[in-house]
Structure formats: structure tokens, C-alpha cells
């Protein structure tokens, strides 16, 4: 099934005629289709997962909805394509999806060699380890000889090998296709340790039978800037992706939320808020979008803080702190270029 998908995607790359790729921009394609095609994960609590009604929810999903809101003014004009870590890049390369929002780490080789453009970082993460509490392990440096469950096709796989190699330790990798299967193998005791990005560990622990029986080790062994990405070669589409994210961050900086956005639109004296919400300037037109694009995002999806707290924040089962993902003025490193 997964293999077929890769094959189909490869065939699609082959079959796409050169003419169509150059003639029509991604934005025009999306508009004429009336729907954004967004690649998400096959199910990761808090980030992208269908709820009981079958509606996709989560941090990564909300970014897709924000892009749809910016283009169509309607956050529901998105078709979600679940992809495994392994399939995701082929799906984007082949044009099966317009944008990939699937906790994907920004690395040089992905940016350059795979032919992608990362539009920004929406979650600053790092790789961690989870282990059963009763093993009595308190540091990742004690993991010599452990078997480790990992999801295939991730930067995690490479970091893990690097970490054990640099600490002169050995491990047995148990490489599994999706993060849910990896978690199940870990719960069944096939491996001692489960490793992925710290946010993913929190998400998987929340879905376990007894979350309190597992601890996340203090070491963070890598930098994992997660963000949405698009194909090389359509700069306007990349700009849209980048500024949708920036609009959500700027909205938080300026205190614009989904609840007060109408009021801010009419009464705010802050020039940046006015430009953001399309009261002044022609920011939308520059991007090829309606002028109230950012207003639509904030109204229907919310600003960065709302999206974070709703999906993964401290009040959710994942219980993630803002940490590095707080605004620069609150001690984090989240920073948007100005709307000007």
C-alpha cells in the first residue's frame, strides 16, 4: 500500500508534462481547483489527527487551514493527505500535495537536494528519548546496548546514529514505518527506548495506556526546527506560505486574537495591525491574495498562541510549554519580520 503510493507518486513525476508545471502557478492551480491540498501525518495527537467526527485537527492541520483561509476566506477548503515520514517528500515533489505541513525538520539537504523551500519554522523542537520509568534510567548516556524504536525516513534516524556513535555506545534500531506502529512496538516491549522529537514523544505518551509509567529523558540531542515546506521554483507560493505563518506570529505580538479581531479592525490605532488586517496598504494584493487575507486567518483559525494552546499547550493532554516557541519578547525565539 505504501510502496504503491511511492510508485504512483514516482509515476506522477514522470507523467507530469513540462508545460503545465511552468504555465500555471501553484496559487492559480489551487484557486481553480477550489481546494488546497495539504500533506499531514498519518496521525499524531495534537499535531494532525482526525477527531471522532473524522475532521482533521491539530497544530499542523491549523496551519493548512490558515493557508486556505488566506486564499479562499474559508478554512475548510482543504483536502488533507495523510503521508508517512517516508512518503511525504515524494508526495510534495510529484505535486500530489501543494504544501507539506507535517512536523518536518528543516535541514540543508532537504532544502537544497530534495528541491524544497521551507517557508519558516512553526515549532522549534529537539529529539528526545522516552523510556519506562521502572528501568531506572535517568540519562540518555546510560542507554548503551538498548534497542530503540524509531520511525523510518526521519532526521531522527540519523541523529540517533550520530548520538550513539559520538558517545561510543551501541544500539539496536527497530525501524518502523509510522509513529503509531513504533509506539505500539515500544509499548509491547520490543524495544527499551522510543525516540522522536520531544513534541512527538509528548504526543505519543498522551496516547499510551498508562502515560505515567514512562519518562522522557532530559537530553535533547538535536535541533529540530519543524516547519511547512513547498516545492522549489514557485516563489510566490513560497511567499504565501511564509507570510501566512508570519501573520499568525505578528497577530500574537500585536495582541490580535480570533475574539477581538473585528474590534481591532475598526478601532486599532497600531499601523502594523491596520496593515495586517488590510485596513491600510495593499499587503494582500502583493501576495496575490484578497486584502483581508490575514483577517480571515485570525478570524477563523486564530493567532499563533491560540493555535498552540488549543492543540498542544499546557491545558491539552500533551501539556507542552511554550519554551523556545514563545515570542522573542517573552524569552522564546519566535520572531516575525515586520508587516510593511
Amino acid at each position: 500500500m505504501k510502496l504503491t503510493r511511492i510508485l504512483v507518486a514516482a509515476a506522477v513525476v514522470t507523467a507530469l508534462t513540462a508545460g503545465t508545471a511552468a504555465a500555471q502557478s501553484t496559487l492559480e492551480n489551487v484557486k481553480s481547483r477550489g481546494q488546497l491540498k495539504c500533506g499531514v501525518s498519518t496521525g499524531l495527537a495534537g499535531f494532525s489527527q482526525p477527531n471522532a467526527q473524522g475532521k482533521w485537527e491539530g497544530f499542523d492541520v491549523d496551519y493548512c487551514r490558515a493557508v486556505a483561509a488566506a486564499i479562499f476566506g474559508d478554512p475548510d477548503k482543504v483536502a488533507f493527505t495523510p503521508t508517512t515520514a517516508k512518503e511525504r517528500f515524494t508526495a510534495l515533489q510529484s505535486g500530489e500535495i501543494d504544501i507539506l505541513s507535517r512536523n518536518t525538520t528543516w535541514t540543508l539537504s532537504r532544502d537544497v537536494q530534495l528541491g524544497f523551500e521551507f517557508v519558516g519554522t512553526d515549532y522549534y523542537d529537539g529529539q528526545g528519548f522516552m523510556i519506562r520509568k521502572d528501568m531506572g534510567i535517568s540519562s540518555a548516556k546510560q542507554l548503551d546496548g538498548a534497542s530503540v524504536c524509531i520511525q523510518t525516513g526521519t532526521t531522527t534516524e540519523l541523529n540517533l546514529a550520530d548520538f550513539f556513535r559520538s558517545h561510543n555506545m551501541k544500539f539496536e534500531p527497530v525501524t518502523i514505518d509510522t509513529s503509531d506502529q513504533a509506539r505500539e512496538a515500544y509499548e509491547a516491549g520490543r524495544c527499551d527506548v522510543y525516540t522522536t522529537d520531544a513534541s512527538g514523544l509528548a504526543a505519543q505518551r498522551a496516547s499510551m495506556a498508562d502515560p505515567s509509567a514512562h519518562v522522557i529523558l532530559p537530553e535533547i540531542i538535536s535541533k529540530e526546527p519543524l516547519g511547512p515546506l513547498v516545492r522549489h521554483g514557485d516563489n510566490n507560493w513560497g511567499d504565501i506560505g511564509r507570510w501566512v505563518l508570519n501573520a499568525m506570529i505578528t497577530a500574537e505580538e500585536d495582541g490580535v486574537t480570533s475574539k477581538n479581531v473585528d474590534e481591532m479592525k475598526t478601532s486599532s490605532d497600531n499601523p502594523e495591525v491596520k496593515r495586517l488586517l488590510g485596513v491600510e496598504g495593499e499587503m494582500g494584493a502583493m501576495l496575490g491574495l484578497p486584502n483581508e487575507w490575514a483577517y480571515n486567518i485570525i478570524k477563523s483559525v486564530g493567532n499563533y498562541s491560540e493555535v498552540f494552546e488549543r492543540n498542544v499547550g499546557v491545558k491539552t493532554p500533551l501539556g507542552l510549554e511554550r519554551g523556545l516557541n514563545a515570542l522573542w519578547k517573552d524569552g522564546g525565539i519566535l520572531y516575525s519580520p515586520p508587516f510593511r
Binding site: 513540462a18 523510518t152 525516513g153 540519523l158 525501524t175 521554483g233
Partner: protein, 394 residues
């Protein structure tokens, strides 16, 4: 009227009405069209890849892989290249396919013969087995066996087999032999034993053909092949020790491991394929007419000899061609091992390597080429065997 005929004759000699020429033209056109289509696909793919800024070529095989694999037949680490990881995957594919083919054949033959057993219960039990196993998708069976493996006792409560071997859901851990200097005499003794055994069988065969006297070469040969190495081993002062697995902080250290992924895949592949082979064997045996059996009995051959000397050789020529297809199926089905994380070709080359390098077209093309080569080689060998056992008409 005469003019008409003359004109027709003229037309008949024109190129278009010439059947041979027309045939050639159409074939040339077909080949030309197919060639153009292929060239278009290749050109278009290359163009699109270049346009999307995706590097192409097989240079990635020389790049450091950076990921770890478990249970490799050759030494492998993250500093090795993608090419080496590809080799690891290829060897793992060949391993599971090779062992699977042998196991499936043995189980399949036994089941096929039992299916024809006069014992009602036995025959019906095998019938049920075959119908259940071959009608359930293989992928589900792989998941099933993997679930069974995973629900074995946890590593801390591993089953102790007594001889230093342990079974847990991390697989089978057994003592690994360590060869010490002086061990080389043992394989030499084995080789000598086998050579003598072959010579002896030939001599016995000739003698039987010449004089009709039988010589109990089978048991003598078994003795030769087993005893000679044992004597050599003891004579050289037991030049072998064992690396016994010990429970470490996390799991067993030392010894060798057979992973649950390998066992699950092997079981699923062989049991599934054995069900098909059993039916092929049954059909083969039934294809030999009952008159042959009766004739053999009339000559005074025992039932076991009748089976071995009369029925099986004639059944084989019916069995072998479809058996080849089953071997091919088993080999290709081993690619499903990716579903449970067995590090075979699809998991390494068109799995991790594809993902880390993004060279989808190259990786998939290379994987397909490898499967094609393996399959053609199996067909080649089986065709040679098939020619040897074919009925020779004199």
C-alpha cells in the same frame, strides 16, 4: 475484363498489398512508436527532475548513509555508504527468500503427500489448513506472526532453553561459536567425507547395475559425513568455544540473535507459499496414472519404493514448472517485510535511502532491476532442473 485482371495483378505486386511487406511495416511502426514513447518518458522525467531542482544519478550510492541497521550479514555502520546499506538489504532479501524457499518446499511436499493420505482426519486437516492459509492475504499473515512474536515474554522474563539460548520478544538469542586456530581441519574433514561419500554412491550404483547386489551406502555415507568432522574436531583438541548471551542492562549481549522480524516474515512467507506448493504436489502426484502404481506393485515393489522410484519422478515434471512460479512469488513477496521493519531491500534502498536522499526514481528503478535479476536467475536455474527431469523419449 482482361484489362481489369492485368490492373489487379499490377496492384497485387505493389508494396501495400504485399502481405510480407505490410507485416514488416506494421512491426517497424509498432517498435518505432514504443521506442518514441519510451524516449519521451525518459526525456520528460529527466526534464521534470531538472526543472524541480532534483539532482539525479547514482552518485548517492557513494555517500555516507548515516543510519544504523540491525542484523546485518556483513559488517555495517552509520559511517558506511548507501551502497553498502543497499548490499545489506539485498543480502537480507536473499537470506529470507532462500531459507523461505527451502522451508516452503519441505512443508509443501509433506502437506501435499498428507493431503492424499487415506487417513480421513489427516487429509481433511491438511485440506482445512490449505484453504485457510492460501485465502488470507499474506500481509495480514505477516502482521499476525509479528504480533505473535511481539507477545512472547519480555526480555526480562525470557524463556531459558537450558543450553544458553533464550527466547523473548526480542527474538532468539543463542550462543555463537567462536572458531579457534586449528578449526580449519574440521571443514576439510567434512569435505573429504562428502567426496568419499559421492565416490562410494557411484561405485554402489554401478555395482548394483552390474550385479544386482545392493550395498547399504546410505547409512555408511551418513556416518562418513558426520563422523569424520567429529573425529577431526576431537582430534584437534576441540578448537571451538561459545560466546554465550548474557542479560545486560537492557537486553542480551553476546551470542547471536535471530530477530522476531525475520522469524515472523519467514514463517508467514513459508507457510503461505507451502499451502500453494501442497496443491501443486497433490496435482502432480494425481497426474501419474494409477496404472503405474498397480504395475509397480505387480513387479513386487514396496509402496515406499513405488512412491520414490515410480510416482515422484513422473510427478516432478508436472510439479516443477508451477513450483518455479511459487519460488518467484515468495521472493517478490519478501518485499512485504518492510511492513514489520525487516531490513530487506525495499526497507533499505527504496525505504530509508530513498527518503534520506530523495532519489525516488533511481532507488525504485534499482530495486525493480534487482528483483527482476533475482527472479530471472531463479527461473534460469529452475528451467535447467526442469530440462533434466523432463520425460526423455527414446
Amino acid at each position: 475484363m482482361a484489362v481489369d485482371l492485368a490492373e489487379r495483378a499490377k496492384l497485387g505486386s505493389s508494396l501495400w498489398t504485399d502481405q510480407r511487406f505490410r507485416g514488416l511495416l506494421l512491426q517497424a511502426l509498432t517498435i518505432g512508436l514504443a521506442g518514441t514513447f519510451l524516449a519521451f518518458i525518459v526525456h520528460n522525467t529527466a526534464h521534470n527532475l531538472a526543472e524541480r531542482g532534483i539532482a539525479s544519478g547514482f552518485g548517492f550510492l557513494d555517500v555516507q548513509a548515516g543510519y544504523e541497521l540491525k542484523n546485518t550479514l556483513i559488517s555495517y555502520g552509520p559511517t558506511n555508504t548507501h551502497g553498502r546499506a543497499f548490499l545489506v538489504g539485498l543480502l537480507n532479501t536473499l537470506l529470507v527468500a532462500g531459507v523461505g524457499v527451502v522451508l516452503a518446499t519441505v512443508i509443501g511436499f509433506i502437506l501435499g503427500v498428507l493431503r492424499l493420505s487415506p487417513n480421513w482426519l489427516l487429509s481433511k486437516a491438511v485440506y482445512c489448513y490449505i484453504e485457510v492459509v492460501r485465502n488470507i492475504p499474506l500481509l495480514l499473515q505477516i502482521y499476525f506472526w509479528y504480533a505473535v512474536m511481539i507477545s512472547l515474554p519480555q526480555v526480562r522474563n525470557a524463556m531459558d532453553l537450558g543450553i544458553g539460548a533464550y527466547i523473548s520478544n526480542r527474538g532468539l538469542q543463542a550462543p555463537a561459536p567462536i572458531l579457534e586456530p586449528g578449526f580449519s581441519i574440521v571443514p576439510v574433514a567434512l569435505l573429504v567425507g562428502i567426496l568419499i561419500a559421492i565416490g562410494l554412491s557411484r561405485w554402489a550404483h554401478k555395482r548394483q547395475e552390474a550385479t544386482g547386489q545392493r550395498f547399504p551406502s546410505f547409512w555408511i555415507n551418513v556416518g562418513l559425513i558426520v563422523l569424520l568432522p567429529v573425529v577431526a574436531y576431537l582430534g584437534a583438541g576441540r578448537p571451538m568455544s561459545f560466546d554465550v548471551p548474557k542479560l545486560g542492562a537492557f537486553s542480551f549481549r553476546g551470542g547471536f540473535t535471530i530477530t522476531p522480524e525475520f522469524v515472523a516474515l519467514l514463517l508467514a512467507l513459508s507457510l503461505y507459499t507451502a499451502a500453494f506448493i501442497a496443491e501443486i504436489v497433490r496435482a502432480g502426484i494425481l497426474s501419474v496414472s494409477h496404472g503405474q502404481t498397480e504395475a509397480a506393485y505387480a513387479l513386487g515393489l514396496k509402496p515406499r519404493w513405488t512412491m520414490r522410484l515410480i510416482i515422484i519422478p513422473q510427478a516432478l515434471r508436472v510439479i516443477v514448472p508451477p513450483l518455479t512460479s511459487q519460488y518467484l512469488n515468495l521472493t517478490k513477496n519478501s518485499s512485504l517485510g518492510v511492513a514489520i521493519g525487516y531490513a530487506e531491500l525495499v526497507a533499505t534502498l527504496s525505504g530509508i535511502t530513498l527518503n534520506q536522499t530523495g532519489q525516488a526514481v533511481e532507488c525504485i528503478a534499482l530495486t525493480m532491476a534487482v528483483y527482476l535479476t533475482i527472479s530471472l536467475m531463479i527461473s534460469f536455474v529452475m528451467n535447467i532442473y526442469n530440462r533434466r527431469i523432463a520425460l526423455v523419449e527414446r
